[in-house]
């Protein structure tokens, strides 16, 4: 494992864009470094215009760094061969409307050098993975937003890459579609595929990511393991089932009698609005 290069290594990345009228260039990314180990799911979060997409584009060689370096599994991002191991889903992709779902995957597969039986099997497998077998021969012009995102994810996976880069994968998708995409990301993690995603939907990132980086105005302001970042160090959570009022009173009294300890809050845990929505529409379908 010591010899395995990181899936993503961005070192001191700086990206300036020329502006038309002002002489000062616009600094979109300012000295950002990211290291993602194989198999991890890394979430880059930040508000719109904070440099997330530019960082991803630099990693894919779509923009050239002003300073710094980007590498995918040890290969310089500016070299085409670094893309052998990466799949990319851009934000709000449209794809070719004149192609069907299966044709789209065949097209991207052929670009990656796949062909024959291998490509046919791969297309079938991916359509099953993203639950679009029923729409395989329908042109993408008739796909919903969620279906487009899923076919986009499938094309990103067509050459079985070890790294998948997702730029706002659930942008504009309804809660059901959003959940499906998150389930797919979890499946990718289970298969050992490294995922680098960026989003400004924090709850989604929290659900799927191992590592998180917070980028603001082009600078990385916080980075680390998700569990470490969101844990409140001086608090402990105990969740009880079927606890009687007497038991709760005893616990409260015990805490009150212990010097230095304080009860912060008691109450019932709440589900999220999204989980409630998904449960309700599932029940309604039955």
């Amino acid at each position: 494992m010591a010899d395995t290069p990181p899936a993503v290594e961005i070192r001191n990345l700086v990206k300036d864009f020329k502006t038309s009228f002002r002489r000062l260039p616009l600094r979109a990314v300012d000295d950002v470094s990211i290291r993602i180990q194989p198999g991890e799911v890394y979430g880059l979060i930040g508000p719109n215009g904070s440099g997330k997409s530019t960082t991803m584009k630099a990693l894919l060689g779509l923009v050239a760094p002003t300073a710094g370096q980007c590498a995918i599994f040890g290969k310089d991002s500016l070299q085409v061969d670094s893309r052998n191991d990466v799949g990319f889903l851009p934000e709000n992709p449209y794809f070719y409307k004149h192609l069907s779902g299966a044709e789209t995957l065949r097209f991207y597969g052929k670009l990656c050098g796949l062909g024959g039986r291998q490509l046919t099997d791969r297309v079938n497998e991916l359509l099953a993975l993203v639950d679009l077998e029923g729409a395989r021969d329908r042109r993408l012009g008739g796909y919903s937003k969620g279906m487009l995102q899923r076919i986009g994810l499938a094309q990103a996976l067509v050459q079985e890459p070890r790294l998948v880069i997702l730029d706002e994968p659930t942008a504009g998708v309804d809660p059901v579609g959003s959940r499906q995409i998150r389930d797919l990301i979890v499946k990718l993690r289970e298969r050992g595929i490294t995922v680098f995603l960026c989003s400004h939907l924090l709850e989604q990132v929290q659900e799927v990511c191992d590592q998180v980086g917070i980028i603001f105005q082009g600078k990385m302001i916080k980075e680390g393991r998700l569990e470490d970042l969101i844990a409140i160090e001086d608090q402990t959570e105990i969740i009880l089932r079927d606890a009687s009022p007497e038991l709760l009173a005893q616990i409260t009294a015990l805490i009150a009698s212990t010097p230095g300890a304080a009860l912060v809050r008691t109450g019932k845990p709440r589900t999220t609005l999204e989980r409630l929505f998904l449960r309700e529409i599932r029940d309604d379908k039955r």
């Binding site: 290069p5 584009k57 061969d81 990319f88 992709p93 050098g113």
Partner: protein
């Protein structure tokens, strides 16, 4: 940061270019661009009715109609092929950028040259198929009409007491205006000119920000190409530049970058029933290949460092 050694890409350059080319062809075909072929069919048939009644002798019987079929057909082929090559090429690249499909392609192991060459070949394939269809239609119409004209001419000539030699000579003259190798060479020249325009539109679209700009500039260069040779001669011989070495270099540079479309006027001579010299065909082929390669390589030079 340690950099791993290069690994070869799966598949060949030719394979990727072929995939992108066939995809571009499908994309354009599904935009229903082939509908214009119906217009061409109407034109080819309509040109049959332009037989002016000026039959002073068997030589002039049907001469107009054969000329008219060739003139209308080659004119329509030129118009359709140039418009198609410019507009289709100008459309493909900006559309991919706008729809972000370009990101998904360049994020795959696809060298940028393969992408550009594939798009260009897709357009050329479309132009070639369109011209082939129009050529077949023109040849069939011309073949039928030539046979009718020869039959008519021979009947009139024999009635007027022409000798067998004179009738054979008349037949040979009419066949020169029918479907022949010179006409096929002229169609190939139309394709070569369209190829130059497509590669030029590709070059412009690599730095242009809109389809409209690419289309307008391409058409401007197309028109300039029709009189640049005259302007160059005027500059060298009649203008203030005189015969200096600098003036020659400047004129040479212009002709290296801007194609001289007057060379393609040989197509008009073929319409008049003249031969298409093999040497001229070879020269036009070389010129077509030179400009198509020059513009494609220049496109690659700009596109290789373009940021998206």
């Amino acid at each position: 940061m340690s950099i791993a050694p290069h690994t070869p890409l799966k598949g060949s350059h030719a394979g990727r270019i072929f995939v992108i080319a066939t995809h571009a062809f499908t994309q354009l075909a599904r935009m229903k661009v082939f509908y214009f072929l119906a217009i061409f069919a109407v034109l080819a048939i309509a040109s049959n009715f332009f037989d002016l009644p000026q039959h002073e002798g068997p030589e002039s019987v049907g001469a107009n109609v054969l000329h008219s079929i060739k003139s209308w057909s080659l004119g329509a082929m030129t118009l359709f092929s140039v418009v198609l090559s410019i507009v289709a090429t100008a459309l493909l690249l900006p559309k991919d950028v706008e729809d972000r499909t370009l990101y998904t392609i360049l994020a795959k192991p696809v060298p940028r040259f393969d992408y550009l060459a594939g798009k260009l070949l897709g357009v050329l394939l479309l132009v070639f198929v369109s011209l082939a269809f129009m050529d077949v239609l023109m040849t069939v119409v011309l073949q039928i009409r030539t046979a009718m004209v020869i039959h008519e001419q021979e009947a009139m000539a024999l009635g007027m007491g022409y000798t067998a030699d004179a009738v054979a000579s008349l037949r040979a003259e009419t066949l020169a205006n029918g479907p022949n190798a010179a006409l096929q060479s002229a169609v190939f020249a139309v394709f070569l000119r369209a190829s130059i325009m497509a590669s030029l539109a590709l070059l412009i679209s690599t730095f242009s920000t809109s389809t409209l700009f690419t289309t307008i500039v391409s058409f401007l260069i197309y028109f300039i190409g029709h009189f640049q040779a005259d302007a160059r001669d005027f500059y060298l011989h009649a203008g203030q530049a005189g015969e200096t070495g600098l003036a020659h270099w400047a004129a040479l540079s212009v002709s290296l970058v801007l194609p001289d479309f007057q060379l393609f006027n040989v197509i008009d001579a073929v319409i008049e029933g003249q031969a298409f010299p093999l040497l001229m065909l070879a020269k036009l082929t070389l010129i077509g290949i030179y400009y198509a390669l020059f513009f494609t390589l220049a496109s690659w030079f700009i596109f290789a460092d373009k940021e998206f």
